[in-house]
Symmetry: C2
Subunit: 302 residues, 2 copies
């Protein structure tokens, strides 16, 4: 069963208290697809890059057996570029520069095989484009979306329409509060569930994640880490692990959804241990299983 | 087995987005002892109040079978007074006024029966007074302390000495970062464990609590609540529930410590549902057990 992931592929300049990296691989779809690839073989990437996108990154995606038919390369264009910095409070990114470049005119076009995918993740892009993708997919089993404050500010109605039309929404705590105009995360989740989406996952950075459905609530703390080098892409890595795990199971039961959140958190906790996707490059499947067990020991009581 | 609790008993004026209450019962020792009383029969309160402290509050403590031999009443003095306000981010209290009054010259004097208590909780007071109490107790089985930023700013060495001499420290996340000069909570906990204390509990407000010992780490998310009316005393209610549960078991195994943290979180989650100790006044034991089960459903996965 296929998992189609639509979103940005980018170059990032990132500065944190632990170092500086320039023109490294970034973008929501990069993080999400690489993370998903640890759980599922059929990951389809939809995005756009410029002629400046190096073969090295293409090879990395291919080494993770990610299908790149949907990655448009505009030879005379430049890849989306983001520059950001973090202070010691790593929950808060400060954007210093954004150059949309080829992403400015991004119009996701799904190859036929992608349109027939059973699972779809709409990473954070313009909600009009997310709706456009939803019109292209044939009959998906389970769809999920992410968003960001920019779209809530400028296209709130469209954001709500996307949420209404997808089975699961991933959103961070500040965005949930902004979108639903309430401080209470549980009330925010209820508002979104009332729109018709089946599951709301509120991402709380180092504080973990909260899942709300009409039938249950599940809360997982963040994995305690001695050092976080670069939080960039943690939410996308989370989403990719989540959807990759679900796609590998081929169905979405409450138990599978809980386990998926734990695996999602495992992946995010690894990713922040190094810059860009560097930790993913050397991550071994056994490490994922070990940290999953560590999460169990961390949270279980009698 | 006795549980001696030393700390402030106060009048609070509290304003939150959900209302305003004036001259209501407050103080760390009030919250901690009432919370502990739901688990343990022999709770001994050490504190000081003025002649203005109403019989109504005395009667409330007595109705919870709390021993008040250690509650000094200075007839011609005034009770400690705190005035604070919270914005929508209820994690952050803003102090508007503090009048120490009789608390200014507080010198905890433990009645003999209190000095022989097996369990001791030193709520947040001047670390010199905490050390003084530690000199008075005979041979306790398990001691715990709390502190606050004021003492870390002005008497850091003494705070560290208290931590060194108690078996468990409770501290909030911002204070742990300040005291240990690191953003990482796990590294902060390791520093404190290296001083010799056996357990470090970092309280993270709505984000739950983290327990670190040399052998294990346990993390519990906050209980998701639709509404928090007044977070005042949540940390003290947590500490009281924790120590009350431990005292009721008469020993401190890793499993008991985990369960104690869950019960502590249950108590704190109830207390913030209303102002002052109002929720405690109508709390039923069965509600505690039900929320404990709800915590299990909230956090467990296979």
């Amino acid at each position: 069963m296929g998992l189609t992931i639509v979103g940005s592929v980018a170059f990032d300049d990132v500065k944190t208290p632990f170092g500086l990296r320039e023109k490294v691989l970034g973008g929501a779809a990069s993080y999400a697809s690489i993370s998903a690839s640890f759980f599922h073989k059929d990951v389809y990437l939809v995005g756009v890059v410029g002629g400046d996108f190096p073969q090295e990154h293409i090879d990395f995606f291919k080494s993770r057996h990610i299908d790149l038919k949907g990655l448009e390369i505009i030879e005379d264009g430049k890849t989306f570029y983001w520059k950001g910095t973090y202070e010691y409070n790593l929950n808060q990114a400060h954007t210093l520069d954004t150059q949309l470049n080829v992403f400015q005119n991004f119009q996701p076009k799904l190859p036929d095989s992608y349109a027939e995918a059973e699972f779809v993740f709409l990473a954070n892009i313009d909600p009009d484009l997310q709706l456009d993708v939803l019109r292209q997919v044939k009959n998906p089993l389970f769809t999920a979306c992410d968003t960001m404050n920019l779209w809530i500010n400028h296209k709130k109605d469209k954001v709500l329409e996307v949420i209404k039309r997808t089975d699961m929404v991933l959103i961070n705590d500040a965005e949930a509060r902004q979108l639903c105009e309430t401080y209470s995360l549980t009330l925010a989740a209820k508002q979104l569930l009332d729109l018709g989406t089946l599951a709301v996952i509120i991402k709380k950075g180092e504080h973990g994640a909260l899942l709300c459905t009409k039938e249950m609530t599940f809360s997982l703390p963040g994995f305690p880490l001695d050092e976080v080098k670069d939080p960039t892409g943690a939410g996308d890595t989370f989403a990719g692990g989540l959807m990759g795990y679900i796609a590998s199971k081929g169905k979405v039961t409450p138990g599978i959804l809980k386990n998926a959140i734990v695996y999602a958190s495992v992946m995010a906790s690894f990713n922040v241990e190094d810059f860009s996707l560097d930790r993913m490059k050397r991550l071994k499947p056994v490490e994922i299983e070990w940290r999953y067990e560590a999460f169990k020991n961390l949270t279980h009581f009698d």
